[in-house]
Subunit: 391 residues, 2 copies
């Protein structure tokens, strides 16, 4: 299942989950979501991780064949789990948590029927909560993703060629990201958000509202995936915002930079500086104990003082957040939004993305990934933040 | 919401759904899944499609702003739906279908609480069933995807450069697919299967079992996404199987071809011919009225007669199907598997993929997408099926 080297990390994660289980007086959590399987075992497999409040961690595996380990138990179907538990002397849970926010309704009914005597409640908040505070090993992977991400972004201007459409430019950047080690997919919590690698939006395409809960929109190339680049020619006077995912390690970094062609109007240049100032100010205030909503409010206030509210986080459609937790998935906690109850803690990781959409010009702003440290934050996506000319 | 031109198509799909609703004596179905939103409206949006057995089709939209249409009703949250229905004179349903196989447990509870007086049952089989029989317009899009897919595959040998790793080759083919119009993502029904664009597997990497329910495996580049290419050098004596998704239109085609470097052992060459023969034989038998499981059994029998059972559909781990329905998603009905109850009908679309994994050589075989016609099948992915040398 995992190498001996990885065992202490698994033990650490197990003990974090167990502590939470004991606090909620639950006996165990049964995990099926890919992000949570990866978290608890270090790999994706088809099956279930079972963590009990006081025992071992077990992996009930359907596929692939050939996984090794004392705690690996092969099953054909989830209904095999209780008898395998009895065979291995694992007590059946009386209070069991299931992932009610990712299991489908029918999957959840099927799993709960397997444990007819257990009281079942929602385990999604618990496991997502545990994942919010990253381990030193996870922070190492996020720093590594950030470094590769920044190396890739450094090469963006060299990748542009005159006469490219936004989609053509995006395709070359997708390739660049993959050559730097990006795994391509990034994981999104919830089923309604879809995207390919990330988004590149130029000119007025930035002002096309999308159905997804991403900070920025774009028409996309198809009504089947209406987000991001739309096949339009990149022309002088436009900004090009690149917000491509950095899943280089199974852990994500998030990063946005802005490029330009020709002369950019003063309003957009000014808005970009305001965004940089917001980013710097928020990053300067962020530290353990600070409320995420206060950071959001501060950003909104600064945009307002600059007279740029109507463009902040979108124009025709505005996003209701300026930052989001990040890790195995792109949308973890903390959420930097007006009604967020999250308080920053050491070892949280979040992306901060103050952006403006300027009609007829494009999007400006910046996004970086930050680790919350004991006294402040550490930026993991280091690369120039000024608008870089593609000319 | 959609153009006037698209209205007859929406009407046709609506009437297909309504007919099924009346057959199951349901009053309405409320749709939230992206694939089904796309099917019912022609675009992805954040919100819900409501189809009643005898009335209009309505779109309850959260995002994006600005969608137009008589039947577009903006809501802030799903709880707004009943009052909006009353406002628009839409009777509340007594028997309502919800997507129990794609809504999460908590989403399903939330939606059913909105209709406290309705009897709720599972609408997923109904809508997937309707989607199984494609409309002429959908068939047109699938043919278009198949044509672009084949054009892209035609260029695969020219894209290879000596000394490439499997991942490097895959990255260039991903770019090639995107330049031919691929949207990148492809939709998979169910939450457990993840992949980036498709898979390229060379040599013994073909024999590494994956956790996913795809026909072929591969170690992948990360335990976070253990499928497909693994970063190994492509060396003489290896086959390279390319199975990259063809989502060029919102509708998928599926296609696999095999390439080789240097001399390939007789066993593999022979197995490839057997695969081609299976493909041809099955395609020759497939027509309306034929049971999908009979086609599966025939394929298994032919592999056995050739003495190649141990390599068929995998070696260390074998897939339990030889084909799958395809459309908006990669895994629709019919399923060509031993326990399938599907009977082929005109306007079904399926991918047929007899493959063998030969240890120390790689995977061989073929995959094409077929439309079931009145008397047989029509192949939409036309491109040479012999093993093509990369030398």
């Amino acid at each position: 299942m995992y190498t001996e080297q990885f065992l202490p990390e698994i033990e650490l994660r197990k003990s974090k989950i167990q502590e939470s289980l004991r606090m909620t007086k639950a006996d165990a959590i049964l995990i099926n979501d890919n992000a949570n399987l990866f978290y608890t075992s270090g790999r994706v497999f088809s099956g279930y991780t079972y963590v009990s409040a006081r025992g071992e961690i077990y992996f009930f595996v359907r596929r692939p064949v050939g996984l090794k380990g004392d705690n690996v138990i092969y099953i054909r179907k989830p209904e095999d789990i209780p008898s395998e538990m009895q065979k291995h002397g694992i007590p059946l849970p009386e209070k069991l948590l299931l992932e009610d926010d990712s299991l489908t309704y029918n999957e959840r009914l099927r799993l709960s029927a397997i444990f007819p005597n257990a009281a079942i409640s929602n385990g999604t908040p618990l496991i997502r909560n545990v994942r919010t505070l990253k381990t030193p090993y996870e922070l190492k992977l996020i720093r590594e993703s950030g470094t590769k991400h920044a190396m890739m972004y450094h090469r963006i201007p060299m990748t542009y060629k005159e006469g490219m459409s936004d989609t053509e430019f995006s395709i070359e950047l997708e390739r660049l990201a993959r050559l730097h080690g990006s795994l391509g997919i990034f994981r999104i919590f919830g089923s309604s958000m879809e995207i390919y690698m990330g988004s590149l939006i130029a000119g007025d395409n930035a002002d096309v509202p999308s159905p997804y809960d991403f900070a920025m929109g774009g028409a996309g190339n198809s009504t089947s995936l209406p987000v991001g680049s739309s096949g339009m020619l990149i022309r002088p006077g436009m900004t090009v915002m690149v917000d491509m995912g950095g899943n280089f390690t199974g852990y994500m970094s998030d990063m946005t930079r802005v490029f330009s062609l020709g002369e950019i109007p003063e309003l957009a240049l000014n808005a970009h500086q305001v965004a940089l100032n917001i980013e710097k100010t928020i990053a300067g205030k962020a530290k353990p104990g600070v409320a995420a909503k206060d950071l959001y409010n501060l950003a909104v206030e600064m945009a307002e003082q600059a007279g740029l509210s109507e463009y902040f986080m979108g124009h025709r459609q505005q996003a209701g957040f300026i930052g989001h937790g990040i890790g195995i998935e792109i949308n973890e906690r903390p959420v930097l939004a007006p009604r967020s109850k999250d308080i920053l803690q050491e070892n949280m990781v979040f992306a901060l993305e103050p952006k403006f959409v300027i009609p007829h010009v494009g999007a400006v702003g910046v996004e970086n990934t930050f680790i919350v440290t004991r006294n402040g934050v550490e930026k993991v996506t280091n690369c120039t933040e000024e608008i870089v000319s593609l000319d």
